[in-house]
């Protein structure tokens, strides 16, 4: 883990050149440097604004910092997260020995659950009634409430999002000898469960706009052995379901939607996960609603749902205890988890509304920056913005994804890189064929998710965007400042 910026990384000398000041600003990511004289005493501050003004006035790289800095030492004004203020702490001789900043007070997490509703009350109910295992009223209630909320016909609660996928495949009879088409850009659980089910995954490239499975690449990968397509609604952006359902219909395939990241997202008015033959959801703690660990699988067809319920419970005959009809699993969700889920579901609308606000605020700030690609606004696609993700163009911005992530971490902002392409990882290489993965490669190496927790404040978003904007500004200066 990268340590926050130290005071040494924040200091330049008045006698240093602007080039040195730019390099310091580029490294420290906070957008300001303290200027000291030869005795080490604070004499001013310098930021991208001051340097840009000086460069416009005809200065060059070799100009002294003293000529460009704001000479008034930073006043002890109140720092709010939004303005990115950084305040020096001075010793008795006026030398900066430490600093204070809002960013330092809290590391902004990429995701964080909000448990401020009825969670504690419902969990207490479980404890006081002793219903803490997978039997109990909250499990059934969670399934019913979830189905009602999403418009799913049949919902089966399970212990996590991964087994939800496994169960969907098993309940729909996908197994040995079957090919299942999966996108290259996704969390590995998507492909792992196909392999667990005994089927053969077929990895295809994603679409450049939606970042989801490319229906054209899917079409080209269909063989007589193809049984299923598993679109993933990545980061909350719905996949192109019309095209996929049309393909599936014509080739007699089942569609299993991996909606782990898409609770609250909708395609043409229908909740993601409810358009295909089955859909799966995850309630891992970073998801829009959480049960700690937990998942749900929904089905179009009652029979498949019944089979899933049976498989979830060891394949046991529901009418005859300890009599097993098939080889099953223990994939049950506990009553305690379901209790949290019920409380979370009550807040889903509010969470979703906040996600959309966050996305809107990010979009407002970041769309100004040329070289950043934001999630596409597509007709009929209601993105839930589970993780606000953007693509950074190294050539335009002069700062690659990983370098950006390192600097944001220094500014106490947590980020996540996009997933690695499945086709590059050893366990999955065999499933890539000689297909083209240009677009996944591009997204994978340049995609970065910004903090998107529902607990994120507007001020924090402004702070994050301010840091990003200043970083790019400094980078541009480092490249373009005149040499003299």
């Amino acid at each position: 883990m990268i340590a926050p910026v130290t005071i040494d990384e924040l200091v330049v000398r008045a006698s240093d050149t602007l080039e040195a000041a730019i390099a310091t600003l580029d490294r420290n990511a906070v957008g300001v440097a303290f200027v000291v004289d030869d005795s080490g005493a604070l004499v001013g501050t310098i930021g991208p604004g001051e340097i840009a003004a000086k460069l416009r006035a005809g200065a060059g790289r070799k100009t002294r910092v003293a000529a460009a800095m704001s000479s008034a030492p930073a006043a002890a004004r109140a720092a709010t997260p939004g303005d990115g203020a950084v305040l020096p702490v001075l010793d008795d001789r006026g030398r900066p020995i430490d600093y204070a900043s809002a960013g330092r007070a809290r590391r902004i997490p990429v995701a964080e659950p909000s448990l401020a509703g009825n969670e504690l009350r419902y969990v207490s109910e479980c404890v006081t009634t002793s219903w803490i295992s997978s039997q109990g009223p909250f499990v059934r209630r969670f399934e019913q409430d979830f189905a009602a909320k999403t418009g799913a016909r049949h919902a089966v609660a399970v212990s996590n999002g991964t087994v939800a996928l496994h169960l969907a495949l098993l309940a729909l009879g996908v197994g040995l000898g079957d090919e299942v088409i999966v996108p290259d850009l996704t969390f590995a659980a998507t492909i792992n469960t196909v392999i667990h089910a005994g089927a053969t995954p077929v990895i295809v490239d994603v679409d450049r706009t939606s970042w989801n499975i490319d229906p054209w690449a899917t079409a080209a990968a269909i063989t007589p052995r193809t049984r299923a397509i598993m679109p993933v609604h990545l980061y909350g952006q719905p996949a192109d379901m019309d095209a996929l359902l049309a393909l599936a219909d014509r080739h007699n395939l089942v569609v299993i939607e991996d909606a782990a990241e898409a609770i609250g997202a909708a395609y043409k008015g229908r909740h993601c996960g409810t358009l295909g033959h089955a859909g799966t959801f995850s309630f891992f703690s970073n998801k829009l609603i959480t049960t700690g660990e937990g998942g749900m699988v929904v089905f179009r067809d009652a029979e498949a749902a019944e089979r899933a319920r049976r498989l979830r419970d060891h394949g046991m005959d529901p009418a005859r205890r300890y009599w097993h009809l098939e080889v099953g699993y223990n994939y049950r969700l506990t009553n305690v988890q379901a209790a949290i889920g019920c409380a979370q579901l009550e807040q889903l609308d509010r969470f979703l509304a906040r996600k959309l606000e966050i996305a809107e605020r990010y979009r407002r700030h970041l769309s100004q920056i040329e070289g950043i690609t934001l999630p596409a606004l597509l007709d009929g696609h209601a993105n839930s913005y589970w993780a606000f993700t953007m693509i950074v163009d190294l050539d335009r911005l002069g700062l690659g994804r990983d370098a950006l992530a390192d600097r944001l971490e220094k500014a106490r902002i947590e980020t996540r890189p996009a997933f690695y392409p499945l086709h590059e990882m050893p366990p999955y290489r065999a499933y890539a064929g000689n297909r083209d993965f240009t677009r996944t490669n591009w997204l994978s190496w340049n995609g970065i998710s910004l903090p998107s927790a529902v607990t994120l404040s507007d001020e924090e978003i402004d702070y994050i965007c301010g840091v990003i904007a200043r970083l790019f500004e400094v980078r541009l200066m480092a490249r373009e400042a005149p040499s003299a």
């Binding site: 054209w216 079409a219 393909l247 240009t438």
Partner: protein
């Protein structure tokens, strides 16, 4: 550095070098006997064509367009009738419908074949029936770029709906589906012998293939001004749509090596598949079909820049087709619910044809692949 020689899009000269003795001899024979219209070559060609395709009847006509038009005339399709056809095709498919007085209904294509989507077709037929103003009469399926459409579905749909199914095989003659040659896949098949086609004449030409002898007799009458058994006995309003003897002579010579040329086209297509860079989406294939590979079309992002770069590098390209028919001004008045054919629209934005003929060697394909790689990367 001098530029390498430009690559021809279709190399008819290479083919002529191979066939020169037989083509010259056959043309000379026509000049000798002087029966330029419906001479013995026409009959001989029709018989050879019928044998090749396995269809009972082959009626040669003046062009691929006439081959599409005559079956509509014979079926008396006209005002108030709806004819369903793919949105992503050459204009001739639709223009014959409009000139017959009927209404074309543009149907989206499938992304795994680029051919008419059988589901979308069924939906379009249902929509027209529900609306009640037009009478559904026929479907013209196009075997785009040489790949046969889904005739098992289309035949079933048309039989159930009581519609005439015409296969527009202008680009697919020589191909097959499930081991059955194009020409027997639909009740009526129309093809073209335009010079750049897999089986191309030295001018315009076309043919209609069918197992129905009575229909074939009507086509023969229609192509000859509607003549009955006697030449000046006009039994129906016809037109002049005959293939001339010189073209039949050329086609006869070319038919001798056609099977070999189709195999060569398949080899070229495979070579392209292997050599082209990532970023050029290969044409669709169908394990059940043998394409005639009239065109080898890839899809690329940033097509206009890619084409400009290829042109600079001496590689010719073509866009088949820059816009869906439903977006063409001439068909605007027939376009129902514009914007509802997303696959056709997407194809038109990104499709690009590369040089394709049976005499394309691997060295040339390597050069094209290299140029395309540079064009996509933006380095040439």
């Amino acid at each position: 550095m001098s530029n390498p020689p430009p690559i021809p899009f279709v190399d008819l000269k290479a083919q002529y070098r191979r066939l020169k003795p037989s083509i010259d001899a056959r043309i000379h024979k026509v000049l000798e006997h002087g029966r330029f219209i419906l001479g013995p070559e026409v009959l001989e060609f029709e018989q050879a064509l019928s044998r090749f395709a396995g269809a009972r009847e082959a009626v040669s006509v003046a062009s691929g367009t006439e081959a599409l038009r005559l079956p509509l005339m014979a079926a008396e399709i006209g005002t108030g009738d709806a004819v369903f056809l793919p949105d992503f095709t050459f204009t001739a498919t639709a223009e014959v419908v409009v000139t017959a007085g009927a209404t074309p209904v543009f149907v989206d294509v499938a992304m795994d074949t680029y051919n008419i989507d059988p589901n979308a077709l069924e939906q379009a037929i249902a929509d027209v029936r529900a609306e009640g103003t037009l009478r559904p009469r026929a479907v013209i399926a196009v075997d785009l770029f040489g790949l046969a459409a889904d005739y098992s579905r289309l035949n079933a749909t048309c039989a159930r709906e009581g519609l005439l199914l015409i296969a527009d095989a202008a680009q697919s003659f020589g191909g097959a589906l499930d081991g059955v040659r194009v020409g027997r896949l639909a009740p009526v098949t129309a093809t073209s012998f335009f010079p750049s086609k897999p089986l191309g004449a030295y001018g315009d030409g076309g043919a209609i293939l069918t197992d129905d002898a009575a229909l074939a007799a009507i086509y023969r009458s229609l192509r000859m001004h509607g003549a009955g058994d006697e030449r000046y006995d006009i039994v129906r309003v016809g037109t002049n749509a005959r293939l001339d003897s010189l073209q039949a002579a050329v086609l006869l010579a070319k038919l001798d090596i056609f099977e070999d040329e189709i195999l060569a086209r398949e080899r070229v297509a495979r070579s392209y598949d292997q050599r082209l860079p990532a970023g050029a989406v290969r044409p669709p294939r169908n394990a059940r079909a043998n394409s005639a590979w009239a065109q080898y079309c890839v899809r690329v992002e940033g097509r206009e820049q890619v084409i400009a770069s290829l042109t600079r590098q001496g590689i010719p390209t073509a866009i088949h087709y820059p816009r869906p028919l439903s977006a063409q001004p001439a068909f605007a008045r027939f376009t129902r619910s514009p914007g509802s054919r997303p696959v056709s629209a997407r194809l038109c934005e990104s499709i690009m044809a590369l040089p394709m003929h049976p005499y394309l060697d691997d060295a040339t394909i390597d050069r094209i692949a290299g140029a395309l790689e540079a064009a996509i990367a933006g380095t040439a």
